[in-house]
């Protein structure tokens, strides 16, 4: 038995000793992995764009092509962020106690530097306003309260200032603040939950805000708007989508 233990120890030590490798090897492997996974498409795009731009100079058809260059450049910038993430993902979520497969699609905002996976069977992304807004694909009748998830970035501010503004807005809209807490789920942020004063009714509006920590004077605010009866449906789906939200430095 003693002999077996000695053999085991020697074998373990010797295997570890004989398999020690140069740390540079590790770095070189990582570089190859990075190139393969994260840079290959970007490089390809760069080359493609280079050829295309050369073609444009040669043709010298001014105005239309100039517009074309600008569009291509804009697309390339957005593709840059898109290249960093998988385009489509299937998520397993739980809705009202039932497991459900959810097909999600990557949405990026190059300017605001964030990504989120969108359940594009039910929602669409409306960009370009003061905030990006995830809205229902099929609109609800007018008698229903608003349903959306809004993402915006506030600049030159702090989390505390933004939280104070939100609370003031909720007060002005006669919404009751029912929760104000620090949360880690679905994202790490300050959470403020407001509820319509007419509670509990099926259509009591609910506003749920997530305010991220300030980074270089920038704060992301995510507002989820739905109503009481939709809390288990749209509320839960917004929650799952927000889990995929990432700010990209």
């Amino acid at each position: 038995m003693k002999d077996n233990n000695l053999f085991d120890k020697q074998l373990e030590a010797e295997l570890k000793r004989k398999t020690q490798l140069d740390m540079d090897v590790k770095q070189a492997i990582w570089k190859s992995i990075e190139d393969e996974l994260f840079h290959s498409i970007t490089e390809h795009d760069k080359n493609r764009r280079g050829v295309w731009v050369a073609g444009i100079s040669l043709a010298a058809v001014m105005l239309i092509l100039l517009f074309g260059v600008m569009t291509e450049t804009g697309q390339a910038m957005i593709q840059n962020l898109k290249d960093l993430f998988i385009e489509e993902k299937q998520e397993q979520i739980e809705m009202e106690g039932q497991q459900e497969e959810l097909d999600t699609h990557l949405e990026t905002n190059e300017e605001l530097r964030y990504v989120i996976y969108l359940d594009d069977d039910r929602y669409k992304m409306d960009k370009g306003g003061e905030a990006d807004r995830i809205e229902l694909k099929e609109e609800l009748p007018d008698s229903y309260p608003d349903v959306y998830m809004e993402i915006r970035r506030e600049e030159n501010t702090t989390t505390e200032e933004v939280v104070a503004d939100i609370k003031e807005t909720l007060n002005n809209e006669e919404m009751e603040i029912v929760e104000e807490t620090r949360t880690k789920n679905p994202i790490e942020a300050e959470l403020i939950r407001g509820r319509g004063s007419k509670y509990p009714e099926w259509d009591t509006p609910i506003y749920q805000y997530y305010v991220t920590d300030s980074m270089n004077g920038q704060v992301f605010v995510i507002k989820q708007a739905y109503f009481l009866e939709a809390a288990e449906g749209h509320g839960a789906r917004f929650h799952y989508m927000l889990e995929s939200f990432e700010i990209v430095k």
């Binding site: 002999d3 077996n4 053999f7 085991d8 020697q10 074998l11 373990e12 010797e14 295997l15 570890k16 004989k18 398999t19 020690q20 490798l21 090897v25 590790k26 070189a28 492997i29 990582w30 190859s32 992995i33 393969e36 996974l37 994260f38 960093l84 993430f85 998988i86 993902k89 299937q90 990557l106 990504v115 996976y117 889990e243 995929s244 990432e246």
Partner: protein, 178 residues
């Protein structure tokens, strides 16, 4: 540790590259050692590890979070190693018989000759060599090994027993496994 790993994997599933780099830093060393122990060739080991991590990243969505990540990772690594070695079969190095005789003649009564560990390991069947590496280099339990190789625990025990006996025999000790 496991919680930290779970958080890391959730981030990778979201496509976070920094999290993937952290995972690489955590697993690269021992995966490289494992591939090197099996192939005895640094360049082959590098290729295998590179391909393993690429597969892990591309297939992370299929990883079931209720399973041990380490077992899932090493399953990919071992499969990749086997695939790679199969591809290189024609180039496989055979042990020179005089080399083998030399080291067998060097045996003394007391000590084991670990200088010839690789030579002895080479003589093991691939299945036996892999369980030895997973156990002694990676510190896997028999249950872990069974999960990685998708085997019954008793089969793992049996392979370990035979492999140790054979190794001890070749490395100068009495093969006194009981």
């Amino acid at each position: 540790m496991v919680d930290k790993e779970t958080r890391l994997i959730k981030k990778i599933k979201k496509g976070n590259h920094q999290a993937f780099k952290k995972l690489y830093d955590r697993f690269a060393d021992y995966s490289l050692r494992t591939a090197f122990a099996i192939t005895k060739n640094q360049s082959d080991a590098s290729d295998i590890v590179q391909e393993t991590f690429i597969r892990v990243y591309r297939n992370i969505d299929s990883y079931d979070m209720s399973r041990s990540f380490k077992a899932w990772f090493y399953q990919i690594l071992i499969n990749e190693t086997r695939r790679y070695m199969k591809k290189k079969t024609k180039q496989a190095r055979s042990i020179e018989s005089d080399q083998l005789l030399d080291f067998l003649h060097q045996q003394t009564e007391e000590a084991y000759h670990f200088d010839d560990l690789y030579l002895a390991m080479d003589k093991l069947e691939e299945n036996h060599r892999t369980v030895i590496i997973l156990k002694y280099l990676n510190g896997f339990t028999e249950k872990d090994i069974a999960e990685v190789l998708e085997l019954n625990v008793n089969t793992v025990k049996s392979r370990l027993f035979k492999a140790r006996k054979q190794l001890k025999g070749m490395m100068g000790g009495a093969s006194d496994e009981r």
